[in-house]
């Protein structure tokens, strides 16, 4: 890192240094804010007080359940469709790309207006209505990361090779295509999970107290504790990201050594 910076021209070094400050300072300031007492000294009290906050455990559990249901729909509906389109209907790729642009045209704050109106009453009472909508919000991430993985594979050759060895279509997908899509699937899952666990707009307007909604609702009573929770949820997300990158690297390393078939 240090040598990399030294190789830069002065103008660029200043630009990168200023941006580094802009991006790191808020993280540092919030960590400090979560760990200081009224006199400005260091304390763990905000962190220690977290588990006993009313409503927090419930909101974490609610976010987790919504996240799990979202992942299930993504895996059962979206992933097979994307693979199928790349295998059998390449002419539909363009349509899929347009669909992934739609969540930008109809952003969460607008979509929730229509969703609350168009949903039948029974479903409207369920928190999993949010899962249904989050699938659409996650669509761009899932599609792009899967499409990149699929485009990098020589699908036709892989499929023909599998076929000539007597493998059926499902078997080919299970044992040939999915293992090759490992990294793309992992990054799709992590990005969508991060999105679901941090989503505030629709959850708050659908009146479900998910984790981000709890943080905002609670911020009036103790800003130190709610900032601490915000930082913890952030560190949790980053740890998840790092774990996935790590798992992926160690897997491909073992793959190169021939330890994994």
């Amino acid at each position: 890192m240090a040598t990399a910076v030294r190789r830069l021209k002065p103008g660029r070094a200043v630009l990168l240094l200023l941006s580094l400050i802009y991006f790191v300072l808020p993280i540092y300031a919030s960590l400090q804010f979560s760990l200081e007492n009224v006199q400005g000294g260091f304390t763990w009290s905000a962190i220690r007080a977290i588990p006993s906050q009313p409503g927090l455990a419930g909101s974490v559990w609610l976010s987790t359940r919504i996240g799990i249901v979202t992942m299930i729909i993504l895996m059962l509906l979206v992933v097979p469709t994307v693979i199928y389109v790349h295998l059998r209907l390449p002419g539909m790729k363009r349509t899929m790309e347009i669909i992934t642009l739609l969540p930008i045209v109809i952003p969460p704050i607008v979509l929730i207006l229509g969703v609350l109106d168009a949903t039948p009453l029974g479903l409207k009472a369920s928190p999993y209505l949010l899962s249904l909508v989050y699938v659409v919000l996650a669509l761009p991430f899932v599609y792009r990361s899967l499409a990149a993985g699929l485009d990098a594979l020589d699908l036709r050759t892989l499929e023909e090779a599998a076929k000539s060895l007597g493998s059926g279509a499902l078997r080919t997908i299970r044992f040939v295509i999915l293992p090759n899509l490992r990294s793309s699937l992992l990054s799709a899952v992590v990005l969508s999970l991060a999105l679901v666990l941090g989503e505030f707009t629709m959850a708050s307007l659908d009146l479900w107290q998910t984790l981000p909604v709890w943080i905002v609702n609670f911020s009036g009573s103790d800003p130190h504790i709610s900032t601490a929770v915000a930082m913890l949820s952030l560190l949790g997300t980053w740890a998840l990201l790092a774990l996935v990158v790590f798992l992926d690297r160690s897997h491909s390393r073992r793959l190169r050594k021939g330890l994994v078939q």
Partner: protein, 298 residues
């Protein structure tokens, strides 16, 4: 890239039937997207043109256009979108260029990963972080105050429109870095060598080659940034508690029941107006990106 499946299609009954049969497995997905995304959009559009008692009317749209708080909110949102597209767009392009032209692979990887994480970072956590940093008693504010440069004494207020724009830069700059980097990588060194070989100065190279080639992508990516800044809700709501007059905030207030009885469907008209603006932005983005692929293999 040309899809082998599309070229050489002869449209007759047989191929049509085959295409239809091949499309069947995609139908559940398309139906899902229709019910979760399409149907709500249709409902919003229909209600935007209906009065409280069910008659078709333009009065909801007129309420927005004729002035007052909704017009002000819409103008503020447009301003916020434009400013948080242009300034982070320029800064992001400069950062992406500094990184793309450096020879350090480690730096490139770190910036790519960090941009990927930070670009999706709007929302509640971001609002809290900026209050702890640039709020009235935030860390950076305290530091600057100690050297006599408290930004709050110079008109800076993180809870007002331009304070919100300052916060949005936190996810807009990384987004720009992320989307514009492929274009910068597509700038071939041979073009620069050719220009220099013909006696061009660096300025002439940028004026005649670099900027014309890059401009469509950079502008296209700015359209994408505009869409994000124009429609963001969570960050501002968590930061200001809904005190800034912006269209997304007004839609939120509408949904929470803060609405005058005579303006019953104005919320839908606001949503519909946003869809129109965002549609233009996304079309601009796609057209400019297509234009840029003339020179750059993205």
């Amino acid at each position: 890239m040309i899809d082998a499946g599309v070229v050489g299609y002869k449209w007759n009954a047989g191929t049509l039937l085959r295409t239809f049969r091949k499309s069947v497995p995609v139908l559940p997905f398309l139906m899902y997207v229709f019910f979760v995304l399409g149907l709500p959009t249709i409902v919003i559009t229909a209600l935007a043109f209906k009065s409280g008692n069910g008659h078709y009317t333009f009065s909801n749209i007129k309420v927005i256009l004729s002035g007052g708080q909704y017009r002000a909110g819409f103008e503020n949102s447009l301003k916020l979108g434009v400013v948080t597209a242009i300034i982070p767009g320029i800064i992001g392009t400069l950062i992406a260029y500094a990184i793309a032209s450096s020879k350090s692979g480690a730096l490139k990887r770190i910036v790519a990963t960090a941009s990927g994480v930070l670009a999706n970072f709007g929302g509640v956590n971001l609002a809290f972080m900026f209050v702890a940093t640039f709020g009235a008693v935030g860390l950076a504010t305290t530091w600057l105050n100690a050297i006599g440069l408290d930004p709050w004494n110079y008109g800076f207020n993180i809870y007002k429109l331009w304070g919100v724009a300052f916060v949005y830069m936190y996810f807009q700059i990384p987004l720009m870095v992320l989307v514009v980097t492929p274009a910068l990588n597509g700038l071939r060194p041979s073009w620069r060598e050719a220009a220099e070989g013909l006696g061009a100065s660096p300025w002439q190279y940028w004026r005649r080659v670099g900027i014309p080639v890059l401009l469509p992508s950079v502008l296209g990516c700015m359209f994408l940034l505009f869409a994000g800044g124009f429609s963001a809700y969570a960050t501002t709501e968590a930061l200001t508690g809904g005190t800034v007059a912006l269209t997304p905030i007004q839609i939120g207030a509408y949904l929470n029941g803060n609405v005058i009885a005579t303006e019953q469907n104005v919320g839908y008209a606001l949503g519909f107006s946003m869809i129109i603006v965002l549609l233009i932005a996304v079309i601009g983005y796609s057209l400019l990106l297509k234009r840029s692929s003339k020179w750059l293999q993205l």
